[in-house]
């Protein structure tokens, strides 16, 4: 990492005003020290040493501001702090804290800069650290983009170290022993002659001294927790005994239960409402027409669902096409149309010349809209009082939630309290907040009372902001057994700008990188190499879905590369390795070859083998998929996965995230899509949007390498290579090249 990156992150911690030179945009605001939210509302005898550690006489609380939707964020954040603080995190309380600018995410916007993640050059690195400034301005306390680890790795360990050294300083002042002669272990400061003082006993004194900021985290050779297999998730026992409390499980004595029906064509609103059949139903409290639809309040969730089912509603139509055919027609019309040009971040060699002779290979690809469908449907508990709002919900965007609730209820943002709850999955769904907006609107109708809004599964699936559909045209050329030309164009509605505008009301100028991420930024040195993004009109409102742009572009890029390699008559793994110009990426390809016993044999007696590669969120990931062609269809037998996250902090959870990412990628590639008719998704529940079930789950073998330069997250990078590896394996087994997801439109699976 360059000096620029380090300074930006470190200075934030102690609230210093120093910022690396040369930042023009918004420097003044960003230079203001960030208030430590724990300093407000501290009781006597409590010390908030940093925004991440709070100690009082009863114990130690670690603040883990990145939300946990199942990826293990709470645990790993706690281990990062505990590693330096010298406590057993299982003995500490964990709290996500209240949202605030001290917890802004310095990394998430970094992936939008126009340099690929493998480019460590000074310019790329400084631009990446510059993007931390707008993040701070926006107060983007966002969980996403596999950024919890890269963002928290230095920051949380440093926070732990500051707290530890400050506690030692307090002990030094009390005992007269120099701080350098004190040690720490298990929540105590150890005195040289024996004897120890509990951290909790030092809290009040530590609060009186300036934090010791001159610290640096320990080298990995001194780690006690991190990097070992013995890092049990701190929420595991609760989750295996039914005692974890998710948002949907909250209960208050005075609580009312609500559900909504909103227009699946988001924003178009209600045309007609007839409540007659619902009105006398048992337990019904109120029916409330809302800006987006109708809310039903009852004394029990099921009764609210029943009453909502009894409503007779028709919706207004939005301006975009009503059917899948119409939507895809718009995407195709924008593809390669100069008026819709958005960006071209890859243009190597001379593609036009390379593709000018007669041997050009062309292929058209497409991917569908996809729902997030986390197992826990969206929900929120809200209580609105005269000048304050309190919210309990699972969200990846607590600051945006706070500000939006303030606006809807007409109170000051400072009077909105957001409690973030553990989530039953998200996959990007909770980067949106429609359900909270609705809950606030409904709670305003019953002031003073807690109101829990629960979406039915059908509401959750049909009122999602899906993964954008897109279409692609690929052209390429081969010569002398090698790939020499690669030209990919992708057309998609803008995703990131729409999202940011929905959340903040601000316009994100410039191109929408998500149209081509996962394709333009791949570490290959194809001599003539071009990737172009076209911005189709805004249609179905779309959002981030696990692995974002790479979820579709990884499929396009890798499958078409496979087609070219096949046309060149080369070995799929060897040619990818030959083209690869990034050492850690080449090594994951090499590793997956070794793990799978790759010998160039792609098809043997009804079996097929395919390789897939994608670098996303800075993580190169290669997968080899083995399939068997049975009488009833394709069975996925085995998947070999090699990844490089720079440094592995939690090998057990890394494996779990890779299992999850592969199963997510394969399951949706097999059988999931949202199709539209009358502006409404045809799919509404798990019977027509399933993903993978247990009997289909292959054996998955994982190896993590550590050759990458920077530490990275693993929540998403295993997703993008799965679909192309599967399609390439099916091609090897059957000779059928499928260029459209989901694959089950063209081939059966068992």
């Amino acid at each position: 990492m360059t000096r620029v990156g380090k300074l930006t992150r470190r200075t934030f911690l102690v609230g210093s005003t120093a910022v690396a030179g040369g930042v023009a945009f918004g420097v003044y605001l960003a230079k203001k020290p960030i208030p430590n939210p724990l300093l407000e509302g501290l009781a006597e005898g409590e010390a908030a040493l940093t925004p991440f550690v709070k100690i009082d006489a009863d114990g130690i609380t670690l603040i883990t501001p990145r939300a946990d939707m199942g990826q293990g964020a709470y645990s790993i954040q706690a281990y990062l702090i505990a590693e330096e603080l010298d406590i057993d995190p299982a003995t500490a309380r964990l709290s996500p804290g209240l949202p605030g600018p001290a917890y802004h995410n310095a990394t998430i916007l970094a992936e939008g800069v126009p340099y690929p993640a493998y480019d460590d050059s000074f310019v790329a690195e400084s631009l990446r650290s510059l993007s931390a400034v707008p993040a701070k301005l926006f107060s983007v306390q966002v969980t996403g983009g596999s950024s919890t680890i890269p963002d928290g790795f230095d920051r949380l360990r440093t926070a732990g170290a500051i707290a530890r050294e400050t506690l030692k300083e307090a002990a030094a002042r009390r005992t007269g022993i120099a701080r350098s002669n004190l040690k720490t272990a298990d929540g105590f400061v150890l005195l040289p002659a024996g004897g120890r003082i509990a951290y909790t006993d030092l809290a009040a004194e530590a609060a009186q001294i300036a934090p010791v900021a001159d610290v640096s985290p320990r080298p990995s050779s001194e780690w006690k927790y991190l990097g070992t297999a013995a890092l049990p998730r701190l929420d595991m026992a609760r989750k295996c005994t039914g005692t974890e409390v998710y948002g949907i499980d909250l209960e208050f004595d005075d609580m009312l239960h609500a559900t909504v029906r909103a227009n699946p064509a988001i924003g178009a609103g209600l045309a007609r409402l007839d409540t007659a059949r619902a009105e006398n139903m048992r337990g019904l409290h109120r029916i409330i027409p809302m800006s987006q639809g109708v809310g039903v309040i009852a004394d029990n969730t099921w009764r609210a669902f029943q009453a909502a089912d009894a409503l007779d509603i028709s919706w207004k139509a939005p301006a975009y096409p009503a059917t899948s055919d119409g939507l895809f027609h718009e995407l195709e019309a924008a593809l390669n149309a100069p008026d819709f040009f958005d960006h071209r971040q890859r243009d190597d060699g001379n593609v036009d010349r390379a593709l000018s002779d007669g041997t050009v290979i062309t292929a058209d690809y497409r991917v569908p809209y996809l729902a997030h469908a986390p197992m826990e449907p969206m929900n929120a508990v809200v209580r609105v009082q005269a000048d304050a709002v309190e919210i309990w919900t699972g969200t990846q965007i607590p600051v945006f939630v706070r500000d939006r609730a303030a606006r809807i209820a007409g109170v000051k943002a400072a009077n909105v309290k957001v409690h973030v709850l553990p989530m039953g999955g998200s996959f990007g769904h909770r980067l949106e907040m429609t359900h909270v907006e609705q809950a606030v609107e409904l709670a305003m109708a019953v002031p003073g009372r807690h109101l829990k809004l629960t979406w039915s599964r059908e509401e959750d699936m049909t009122h999602d902001y899906p993964r954008p559909a897109s279409v692609a045209r690929a052209r390429g050329a081969v010569a002398d057994g090698k790939v020499i030309g690669f030209d990919l164009s992708v057309s998609q509605s803008a995703m990131a700008p729409e999202w940011l505008e929905r959340l903040s009301g601000r316009n994100l100028p410039g191109p929408d990188a998500t149209i081509t991420t996962g394709a333009w930024d791949q570490p290959f040195a194809i001599p003539n190499y071009r990737v172009t993004g076209y911005r189709a009109p805004a249609m179905v409102p779309v959002s981030s879905w696990r692995s974002v742009g790479a979820s579709g572009n990884g499929f396009y890029h890798d499958c078409f590369l496979d087609e070219l390699i096949h046309a060149a008559g080369a070995d799929p793994l060897a040619e990818r390795m030959r083209l690869c110009m990034h050492d850690p990426s080449r090594k994951v390809l090499e590793a997956v070859g070794e793990m799978s016993g790759w010998n160039g044999e792609l098809h043997t007696g009804g079996r097929g083998r395919g390789v897939g590669f994608c670098m996303s969120f800075g993580v190169p990931c290669a997968q080899v998929v083995d399939v068997v062609q049975t009488e009833d269809g394709i069975r996925i037998e085995k998947v070999y996965v090699a990844v490089d996250v720079g440094e592995v902090l939690d090998p057990t959870n890394l494996e779990a995230q890779v299992f999850g990412g592969v199963i997510w990628g394969l399951g949706h590639a097999m059988n999931c899509e949202l199709t539209y008719d009358d502006h409404m998704p045809d799919q509404s529940n798990f019977y027509d949007f399933t993903g993978m079930r247990l009997y289909q789950a292959p054996e998955i073998i994982v190896r993590a390498l550590s050759n990458g330069s920077a530490i990275r997250g693993i929540g998403e990078p295993a997703v993008p290579p799965a679909a192309p590896a599967l399609a390439n394996a099916i091609f090897a087994a059957t000779g059928q090249r499928i260029r459209e997801l989901p694959l089950h439109k063209h081939i059966d699976f068992v």
């Binding site: 939707m69 199942g70 049990p232 998730r233 929420d235 595991m236 026992a237 609760r238 989750k239 295996c240 005994t241 039914g242 005692t243 974890e244 409390v245 998710y246 949907i248 499980d249 209960e251 239960h257 048992r282 029990n300 969730t301 099921w302 009764r303 669902f305 469908a373 986390p374 197992m375 826990e376 449907p377 553990p422 989530m423 039953g424 999955g425 996959f427 629960t454 599964r457 057990t652 959870n653 779990a656 995230q657 299992f659 999850g660 990412g661 592969v662 199963i663 997510w664 529940n685 798990f686 019977y687 399933t690 993903g691 993978m692 079930r693 247990l694 009997y695 789950a697 054996e699 998955i700």
Partner: protein, 154 residues
């Protein structure tokens, strides 16, 4: 109307069509069984009635015959059932939302077949959806729990 859940008798006053799931969750505040789909597609709501796994979202409480066992009655953090213990050892849960149902389904499986094969696990467990993709560890944990249970049983 009366029903017994985890050995405790409850008196409730609800319409007989109300699914057992919502009686448990909203009337009795037993939140281990989860709502995932409401239409027998995900298994998150799985509980036992007289020892057999049922989808509580599909069982009108008026049709209930027998005693109900939920994840809370199977074992507690202090006194884990062998399956819960195996689940923790194998670090199965990610978001965890499906896992009450997975464990209740697995408990019912081991009641019927103490040493299930992979094919039998596939057969019985495939109605329980996990969007986080914990399936490989679910398989491993069921095998491990089966071993533990057979060692501890006379």
């Amino acid at each position: 109307m009366k029903l017994t859940v985890n050995g405790i008798l409850h008196e409730i006053n609800v319409e007989p069509e109300m699914p057992l799931l919502w009686v448990l969750r909203d009337e009795l505040d037993i939140k281990g069984p989860k709502y995932g789909c409401g239409v027998a597609q995900c298994g998150a709501c799985t509980v036992h009635v007289d020892g057999v796994a049922v989808r509580s979202c599909q069982l009108p409480v008026g049709d209930l015959e027998g005693e109900v066992l939920t994840i809370e009655g199977l074992g507690t953090p202090e006194r884990l059932h062998a399956l819960q213990d195996a689940w923790i050892t194998h670090q199965v849960a990610q978001c965890g939302y499906c896992q009450s149902g997975q464990i209740m389904q697995a408990a019912s499986l081991l009641e019927m077949i103490p040493h299930p094969s992979d094919a039998e696990i596939d057969e019985v467990m495939s109605g329980n959806l996990c969007r986080c993709g914990t399936y490989p560890r679910i398989r491993a944990a069921i095998h491990a729990a089966a071993r533990t249970l057979s060692e501890t049983k006379p």
